[in-house]
Subunit: 361 residues, 2 copies
Amino acid sequence: MFKIRILHFILALSTVSPAFGQKGSIVLEDQGSFAVGGKVITAPGAFHPIEDGAFNPSNQSSAGQTLHGDHAYVFYQIPEKSKELPLVFWHGYGQFSKTWETTPDGREGFQNIFLRKKYPVYLIDQPRRGRAGRSTVPGTISASPDDQLWFGIFRLGVGTEFYLGVQFDKSPKTLDQFFRQITPDTGPIDFDANTEAVTALFDQIGDGILVTHSHSGGQGWLTALKSQHIKGIVSYEPGSNFVFPEGSVPDPIPYVGGTLRAVGVPMDEFEKLTQIPIVIYYGDYIPTEPVENPAQEQWRAALQMAKRWTETVNEHGGDVTLVHLPEIGIKGNTHFPFSDLNNQQIADLMSEWLKEKGINK
Amino acid sequence: MFKIRILHFILALSTVSPAFGQKGSIVLEDQGSFAVGGKVITAPGAFHPIEDGAFNPSNQSSAGQTLHGDHAYVFYQIPEKSKELPLVFWHGYGQFSKTWETTPDGREGFQNIFLRKKYPVYLIDQPRRGRAGRSTVPGTISASPDDQLWFGIFRLGVGTEFYLGVQFDKSPKTLDQFFRQITPDTGPIDFDANTEAVTALFDQIGDGILVTHSHSGGQGWLTALKSQHIKGIVSYEPGSNFVFPEGSVPDPIPYVGGTLRAVGVPMDEFEKLTQIPIVIYYGDYIPTEPVENPAQEQWRAALQMAKRWTETVNEHGGDVTLVHLPEIGIKGNTHFPFSDLNNQQIADLMSEWLKEKGINK
């Protein structure tokens, strides 16, 4: 009894002490980083440290040398008295782990929000992206200006005009930070390398929840086929690579600017996706009927495919929940709901779902 | 008095609670990330969101679009009840912020060690590296195997043989992690972009201590010429770009595999380097006389130039301390003393120097 009273007293003190910061401190039991997955390639020949050991970038011999590449990079933080099941966050196309950190307007992202909710948090940079830049195959980076393309596809607005009511701070400084979250691939995107690295991560850390965004959505389904350690998936705006049973793959969905195709796998593989709870969220400004703007069209196709996929998994005994946020009264979200102005509300939704499914342990 | 007694009681409780982990918890008042510095380029023409707004990587129009690039990326952590002057850590060639995180053999790196010492810690990825991958100019990535080149230059050993007594764990898993810390440039290295971004960082955060490694050593001197906010520099194994007064630039130092040249700046610029305390550390396996191994030769030249530079800055009233670790009895260090097996000792040395210079506030 005495100990309990003391702890209450400490908690009371914490909430009034200014040193604990406006939102309270984050108490970490551990944090660190490592590479996981990946390959080793070796150039033919022999390495001679004396003859070939001088740094000469314009004419370096690779004979007999190795290159370690195609790993994922992981930064993890374990809060004190944490829950058992960690959240593993995987970014989308053209993005990296920054997706989950400080928002473009400087507020806390899902990294801090879920640490405060006592989840161990793992942030991935997928192979050949960000801090996992070492690729086993060559790459070229064009540096072609394309910010406005992404302004559209990420559904901030059209051209340079924000959508009315968008949950995004419109100050130029915020948009500047948002554009600087883009980072190039250092080699071709390789689904095998990516899904193998994330599978290796779960082998290392054990059971957990996978949180995906956009391009990692489809890769997340493929990873769940490989890893028994994924005990639930939260997917923000998955864009492609929906996995159906062979023989029941739906027709491709044409849209202005492209065609969305589904993927077929054997039934016994597909059925793995019926064994775990899955929730999918889509934001606002996604039309239900064809429009002329290709940046919206691709999400119309994705949402339509996601509905079909949800029905199919659930028909086979699965537990997929599809949430189109405007339909539950949450409006103005971009392609990045977890960093939008209402991201605390978005995080609470996710928390409630984890609790409802009993995987918030 | 009552409040003070309660705080003592909390501290006593903390040290016995098993939940605080073996080394104790890290209590953060804040953490986050942002981009700083950088440029914006704009392609000629006009962007048409309907005609050009579909994602088409093989034939994307850049007309009228912008690209935000050449910024640095920064991840920061502020411990509770922190010291005033933060430590800003800048990686070396082919490396990124991982340099300062978990060591290749899984122990705590300088990030955690100095958080525990109550310093605010800022980790930089310089422009066109790691999480700051968006470059305003194109780049190519060769993916040429060169691990053994770096094994030599980073002074783990020769060829594939470790040096006798090296402070590096010899298990294959550790070497695998070490090689995966290498990451390519996504565009040409640009000293102006790099030093401007780090200067912009100090403009944003105010006074602090810059900690450099290898290739950022020379860039650190150049940044200290631009920023009045750098109140001290800790430089691990600076490799090049030592800054001398014009007219007193020493002769280039030839070595097997190359030539080390110094840089001249006007005297009033040079004198800025005499206004702050600076410490330089070099590890082991650096010969004092020419040898045949180019991977050692480049460090022989660097150490020789660093001695000359130390003398010159101090002759002009500066306060540079050059520490060749084996000369004070600390043996076996590689090019990465801060992540070597004795990195706690190396950190303590740095702490003592900061205290001695009165910049551990």
